[in-house]
Structures are given as C-alpha cells and as structure tokens.
Amino acid sequence: MTTLANALPRRAPWGWVMLANILWIAAYANLTSFADAVLALSGLSRQTHLGEALHFFIFDTPKVLLLLTAIVFVMGIVHTFVSPERTRAFLSGRRLGVGNVFAATLGIVTPFCSCSAVPLFIGFLSAGVPLGVTFSFLIAAPMVNEVALALLFGMFGWKIAGLYLAMGLIVAIVAGLVIGKLRMEHHLEDWVRAIQAGNAAELAVDRPSWAERIDAGVSHVGEIVGKVWPYVLAGIALGAGIHGYVPEDFMAGIMGKDAPWWSVPAAVVIGVPMYANAAGIIPVVEALIGKGAALGTVLAFMMSVIALSLPEMIILRKVLKVRLIATFAGVVALGILIVGYVFNAVL
C-alpha cells in the first residue's frame, strides 16, 4: 500500500481526492441495486433463508468496506496533526476532572495501537500525566475508535453513533476519575515508578505538506483496512447467518427489552474475555438487534468486547500490579453495565 501511496502523483493530490470521492459516492448510492442484481443472478429469492442471508452479505460487505475506507482515510489525515507526544505534552500536569475530559477526547483522535499501550502508558506517567487521566485516555482510545463510529453510523444512523460516542466518553472519563481518586499509584510495578521524567526522546518532526497528509491517509487505509477486512467478512458472514436463519424475535426473550435484569451483566461477562475489533463485532450487533435484542444490552456487549480484552490485560500486567488491573477492569465493566441499562431504559 505504501507503494501505491508513493505512486500517487504528488502534483495534484486534491484531484485524486475529488476523483476518489466521486467514485465512492457513486458506489455507495448503488449498494442496493448491486445486491439485488447479484442475488437475481444467483437465482435465489429473498423469501428463502439462504437468499436472505446472501442478500445481507452482498449488501453489507461493500457498504461496510466503503464506510471503513472513508473514515480510516480521514483519520489517517487527522493523525498527521496529533501525535502521542503532542497529546502527552497537552495532558501533562492536568488535574483530575478537566484532564480526564481532555484525555478521553484526545483518545479518539490520537494514533494508538494496542501494542503501544505500555510505552504510551509509561510515557504519559513519566511526563507527569496523572494516573487517572492516563487511564481515561487508555480506556477511550480503543473503545471510541474511528472504526466503531463509522460502522455504527453506517448501520444505525448518527443518533446511535452519537450516543455510543457520548456513552463511551462518559465511561472513560468517569472510570479514569474513579481510578484517580482511589490513589493506586503504588500498584504500579516498581520499575515503572523508578522511571524518571524527562528522558523523552526528542524526535524532530517536519511539518508535513498536504500531499504528505493525504499520502498518510492512503497508507492508513492500506494498513487498517488491510488488517481488519477478514474480521469484517467473518463478522458479516456470521451476521448474515443470524439474519437469514434465526427466527424473528428469537433474541427478544434473552436479550430484548423484557428480558430478565441479568441480561445486561451476562452480556458484559460474556464480552470481556472475547477479543474482537469493532469491525468484526458490529455486523453481529446489527443482526442481533434485527432479531429483537435490546440496543443497550447489545452495545454493552460490544463495548466490553472492544474495551476490555484478555490480551490487553496481559500486556498491562507488565506495568500494573494485579489489584490495579482488577480495579481497571471492574470500574470499566461497571461503567459499561450502567450504560447498558441507561440505553435500555431510554430507548
């Protein structure tokens, strides 16, 4: 993909962006007719289970991939304006409260990969970012990410995407505040506490040109979409199966509005050890909702899958003592639980 990025003519980057935009809109406008046409070719009817499942798959796959490409491209450009170093400088010395709000918000736009969680964590602490503020960032960054928002927007509209954004931010802010108030600094591993502030690497970064920013967007697409597309396909296939074969209202009894009170905690408990990214889980979420599952329960499930995962805990174990990890997981899970109940009550 980087080779493609290098191949793009640098003289007229905006021309390429315009062209891509036009193609994108044309493709997006024709999703339904495309799915109908392919289904007609296969000779299957939407009245059959297989036909309905297939239609779901053919319609959703290009739709999700188009949305994903667009948002990941934009985020690739946004990332050229924010770096972890800048975010850290901005957050350093902030107090609990305002600091948590900034940290959670910056968590959405700062480039972050889960394998960098530990360096970032230590980098923040050593520069004087309070522990609670650091946690707000660390919780928001994976949970309220561009992939999740793009998919929610594409499948459920801006209201649900906006609610998810707001609720995700609130969970991150409040959980960070709670962890900060608990004063758990001594539950960091000793070698982490020994790291002195001020040894941050000085990286000279030139201000990129717009052509370079657009290049960054293109290579971000290559990197992210190239990585998540198999999960997207698997997720949509599973979603298509549920959509075509599971009877209407099947989920209503277990995960619906009138389901017993324990359905939300059960969703969280099942979700925490599961590890999938937003791209894989959202098509499943869409199918579950289509079968009568309540939105709050399903979103709680989704948040716990994305925000809390076993591999991340294992990575964090290198810097945090068990009690702090348990507190972190507990506080976040509790926050998600409340979000689930609130969604179910409001909608």
Partner: protein
C-alpha cells in the same frame, strides 16, 4: 559500522520494520549491526511512546508504525 536497534515487543509492525531495514541495507550493500530490543523495560529507557521505534547509534530516529521506505533509505 552503524548500530541499528529496533524497539518493539514483537508485534507484526516491529517484525516488518526489521525486515524493511534489512532489505534497505542489503539493497544498498551496507553492513550494519541490526538488533531487536524486545524487553519493555529496555524499550522504555529510550523514552519512546509508540512502537516500533528505531535507534541508530544510540539516537532515536523513529517511533510509531512502520517507517516509510524513503525514510529508512535516508538513514543510511
């Protein structure tokens, strides 16, 4: 001979970075001492916040994501 260290806990991007540097130096016919630093404690002594990082002769030249090939070529 330059000493090149790639800092990273062993994720895919770190491996790709090592591979890329290896390719570039081989293409240029330069010999370097290429090392991987995988222990998080050691990585943190360089003060980077995102992996993979690249250190040449003790100086951090890159952090976060696989560097662009052009960037790697400019180091040697």
């Amino acid at each position: 001979m330059k000493n090149v260290k790639v800092l990273g806990t062993g994720c895919a991007n770190c491996k790709n970075t090592v591979k890329l540097i290896d390719e570039v130096v081989k293409a240029k016919g330069i010999e370097v001492q290429l090392e991987k630093v995988e222990q998080i404690q050691d990585i943190m002594t360089y003060g980077i916040m995102a992996t993979p990082g690249v250190v040449i002769d003790g100086k951090v030249v890159h952090a976060g994501g696989v560097p662009a090939r052009a960037k790697v070529e400019s180091w040697f």
